[in-house]
Amino acid sequence: MYKKDFPIFTNTKLNGSDLVYLDSAATTQKPQIVINKLKEFYENYNANIYRGIYNLSEEATALYENTRSRVADFLNVSSSEIIFTKGTTDGINFIVYTYAKNKLKKGDLVLLTEMEHHSNIVPWQILSKNIGFNIEYVPVSKEGKLKDLDKFLEFKPKILSITHVSNVLGCVNDISYISRLAHKIGCTVIVDGAQAVSHMKIDIKSLGCDFYVFSAHKMFGPTGVGILYGKNEILSEIDPVFGGGEMISSVTKEFPVFKSSPFKFEPGTQNFADVSVFSSSIDYIDSIGIGNISDYIKDLSSYAVKKLKGIKGLHVYGEGNLSGIISFDINGLHSHDIATLLNENNIAVRAGHHCAQILMSSLGVSSLTRCSLQIYNDRSDIDKLVYSLDKIVNYFN
């Protein structure tokens, strides 16, 4: 029903087959209104923001700041708590160097989970090599439940950094509950929302976390834009690590006076065109309704799981999670062969370790095939996937 909003589905064919795009967890396709907005920006509003005392620059600034307030409303927070980054990875690295680096000492503990994406592991490992803090990983069940989180919190970690939704198992962590537990012992909670924002209502006030990061490109928006939410109390206390133009109120030969948050964290020319365009992705989501998107994806996921399980030798990981991310393997077949064969029918899935090697080894697998669903997918996409998989399995048996 929503496929027609996305021109890529009319524009791309492979050997005459329509595109069946089942890799939205990697990046979503873009609706026409977002694409139009990008063209419109460069044709009508392009000027560097903040600096010009002329109409065009004022207009571009207004569009950029409009996105900030749209995002703030979308998350139920205030604009001063929204910092633009390049993406989730950039946001986590920002927190690691701007916040955690000063907070952590040798011997401290940072708590992660086994289901984290590499972007929420590697930055911590790099910093830990410099500072000497410890990292522990909360174990995860095969279905994606955290095990013994309360026991790990007894070790009094300074920071817990955790994904909202797993990009492999599709399980949803109960962030409100986790934040309450962690805050009782004074532990800061950082949440990777990359796989949550496009299909779940995110109310940061009720989640209660201290930081929340995600990428625009995974929610119908342009690449190169990320959102970092940080609590005002924290952002106002910390100094920027990167300096440059437009983030200071005055510069002398001694030390500069920084602007307030979020401006002190956005030095130099920002990706203002893509940020400005990003508001139209939120418009698009609002036009459907985030609740309707959730319901649609849940329904389609349960259809997909049911159908996939009918294939001989196929095993779904985290089948009860139903949040649009379905990873599976098939006895005797390598995920890269499955993906290559599906591609022959213009079906795009992800194969490999999904930047989650710690989870893979805890699940005891070296690679999985993942199909991830979005609003533009429908039952016919699933039927085509299942038809092709059936054929593949038959060929090899």
Partner: protein, 128 residues
Amino acid sequence: MDNSSLLQSFIIEAYKNQKNKKSIDVYNIKQEGENALCGDTITFYINVVDDVIKDVGYDAKGCVISQVFTSVLSEYMVGKNWNKVLDEISFDDIYNTVGVSLSPTRLKCAKLPFETIKLALNKNMGHD
């Protein structure tokens, strides 16, 4: 399916009938190779007598592409001069024999057996 498909009969047949996917008791060259991206691994066991390859066995885990290319290369190798084994056949020759068309990522899988033999050759320079 056209003949560039991974499902063409040559590949399926070659995959199902890997003659040299076996352990051999007598060998004097053992070489492991790995493609970290896919997790493909191969171990070649090669018996060379008077410079001539008498027997090849291998153990391979991983995708169809890496296994089929390993199988085809191993069959070709038997009876050849070990030191010159890769002078007489190129990767392109085998690629054409198999006849599948591969994307750059999948080419790495196909090249794994060649890279593994190259490793062994470099180690065994001067083998008698």
